[in-house]
């Protein structure tokens, strides 16, 4: 695919990097030369310096040939104008824009081909809020992602001593939960993937990925780690866009929220915008403040400022002072690798979360959702199977007869709005949503090919 990315910020660069590796033709545009310097050679992409929404710049970036334009500059207005220009001049088929301002986000009707032609709006704040909310709702989860509009969930967790299934063969889960259908999509042991079989014995510290219908997730999780009720007491640090939105969402869901903000003016502002949340002006690295605010009674501590180091350190401190679970927002990917699963419970990576949702629109085939897992090494996708036994390589076939690339498993199906946890002899039907777990991203291309219809499909 020929893709133009506008804006060489965190999301622009990480997306360019991932997409270039997947055999796409990428042009990255930024108006600051130093932002794109050196990227050309390092990422094997084309770079252009110029104003992202200017017709001449878009022309130079290959506008007439581009299949997709991804506008992720730091200005909503530039992103919208760039989509408008691309549509008017080049009829670019797919236009994705990052829009942050709630002012625009609450008026979706302005985004259409005859007003502002944006096909897909990406709001990182909303994505991150949703991500953290899931982690709070499912204690013990490292990652929770939605498929089939939330009907199906995939959960990554760490198996612990005390989980009933730990130390036993996977197949015995049926004895414990005879009426619940779930599928273990992947297991990572000491960071290495294991293909789960019925006789695989779950060990403590295994990282397990499970797919099930949403209502079954808690009980299935309880097989792998000690049962916990979702905690009610949440402390957030940093009242930026994400902190504010998350606090608002949490208080609407009846959590007890304390929001710590360093800036006096900002603290006063957000206090006015929130109802039940207690806004505290202060520093999350202030041990006395933390103790005074009952840090040891917090079920979740989550640091969301725009300073990685401060987030990591305050989350470590909170953990030491007795917070049950500590999470930190971490932008730099090197830190994410370093921190997660060692000192903190969960590292929240805005770029990984955002990139996953962008990949949905780049994948060939009728892809509905893509989620990056394990810091981008693995992927879970939802795709629709089309065609019939002649025009498709999957429709009309039993799962065991489909030549899936190694390490790729069908986790679940959605058929006529109903969740099916498939067995080896389940036959894929046309229009099934198929949820796949791909252990190694290098196989994504093969998975895409497998699900593509042949020429006779009309």
């Amino acid at each position: 695919m020929k893709i133009i990315i506008l804006g060489a910020g965190q999301v622009g660069i990480s997306t360019a990097e991932i997409l270039a590796k997947e055999d796409n033709d990428i042009t990255l545009v930024d108006n600051v030369a130093s932002q794109v310097e050196g990227l050309q050679d390092r990422l094997d992409i084309r770079t252009i310096v110029g104003s992202a929404s200017h017709p001449s710049v878009l022309e130079q970036a290959g506008g007439p040939d581009a299949d997709l334009i991804l506008a992720v500059t730091d200005q909503d207005e530039v992103n919208m104008a760039a989509c408008q220009v691309a549509y008017t001049l080049f009829r670019t088929p797919k236009k994705i824009a990052r829009i942050r301002s709630v002012e625009y986000l609450t008026h979706r009707e302005i985004f259409s081909d005859d007003s502002i032609p944006v096909d897909v709006i990406i709001s990182p704040e909303q994505l991150i809020t949703q991500h953290v909310l899931h982690l709070i709702e499912y204690p013990g989860a490292l990652q929770v992602v939605d498929f089939a509009g939330g009907k199906i969930k995939l959960v990554g967790l760490k198996a612990y001593h005390g989980g009933p299934l730990v130390g036993r063969e996977l197949r015995t889960i049926r004895e414990d939960l005879p009426t619940v259908e779930a599928r273990v999509a992947a297991i990572y042991r000491h960071d290495r993937p294991i293909i789960p079989e019925g006789d695989t014995i779950i060990e403590p510290n295994d990282e397990v990925f499970i797919v099930a219908a949403a209502p079954h997730i808690p009980i299935v999780m309880s097989e792998f780690c000690a049962v916990e009720a979702p905690g009610q007491n949440i402390m957030l640090v940093g009242a930026g866009k994400i902190g504010l939105q998350l606090a608002r969402t949490l208080e609407q869901n009846n959590y007890q929220v304390k929001l710590v903000e360093h800036g006096a003016e900002r603290a006063r502002q957000v206090a006015e915008q929130l109802d039940a949340t207690i806004v505290l002006r202060g520093d999350a690295a202030d041990e006395d403040l933390m103790l005074q605010e009952n840090i040891d009674g917090m079920d979740v501590f989550c640091s969301l400022t725009n300073d990685d180091e401060a987030n990591i350190l305050s989350a470590m401190l909170a953990k030491r002072l007795g917070a049950h679970r500590a999470m930190a927002l971490i932008n730099r990917s090197a830190y994410v690798d370093l921190i997660e699963s060692s000192v903190l419970d969960v590292a929240i990576s805005p770029s990984l979360i955002t990139v996953g949702s962008l990949l949905t629109h780049v994948r060939r085939g009728d892809t509905i959702a893509v989620h990056s897992l394990r810091r981008g090494a693995a992927e879970a996708i939802e795709t629709i199977a089309h065609g019939d036994a002649t025009s498709s390589s999957v429709v009309g076939r039993r799962i065991e007869d489909i030549s899936l690339p190694s390490g790729t498993r069908v986790g679940a199906l959605l058929r006529n709005q109903e969740v099916i946890i498939p067995h080896h002899d389940t036959v894929i039907e046309a229009e099934d949503h198929v949820i796949l777990f791909v252990i190694d991203k290098k196989h994504i291309r093969d998975v895409e090919r497998l699900f593509q219809v042949k020429v006779t499909f009309v």
């Binding site: 020929k2 007439p64 009829r91 088929p93 060939r364 593509q452 219809v453 020429v455």
Partner: protein
Amino acid sequence: MNSTAHPRLLTGLLSTSRIRLNVSAPSKKRMLEELARLLSHNRPDLHRDTVFQVLNERERLGSTGIGDGIALPHGRLNGLTEPLAAVIRLRQALDFDSVDDRPIQLIVGLLVPANATEQHLNILASLAETFNNTEQREAIFRARDAQTLFALLT
């Protein structure tokens, strides 16, 4: 050329005005745009942008590159009552995610009504079969002008 082998597949679907040789299209998008332009040429009932959209959407579900340098982009179009074809031969071969990974040079585009009949749908399978014949294929690749190509396909 073995004239008995050609099945007059596109009789009634094609006209010389919808055949263009020596087309320069540096990308998949521009090739599909050119094809949409040709298909909607002299057809006030067909909107170029809509035709492009239909072809592009179908391409997303799976490449129509059938190998040996040939692609058969197609789609269903609302409001169309009879199928319609157009042919493009490119000056320079174009990467098209074909089954054999080879670039394409000959494109036969086809639009069928939204409620296409079995007969309409079979056109594609027959086209693919025709191009499977090396002699047929080579004659079409060699054709010097639109008239010759028209005669070969209708």
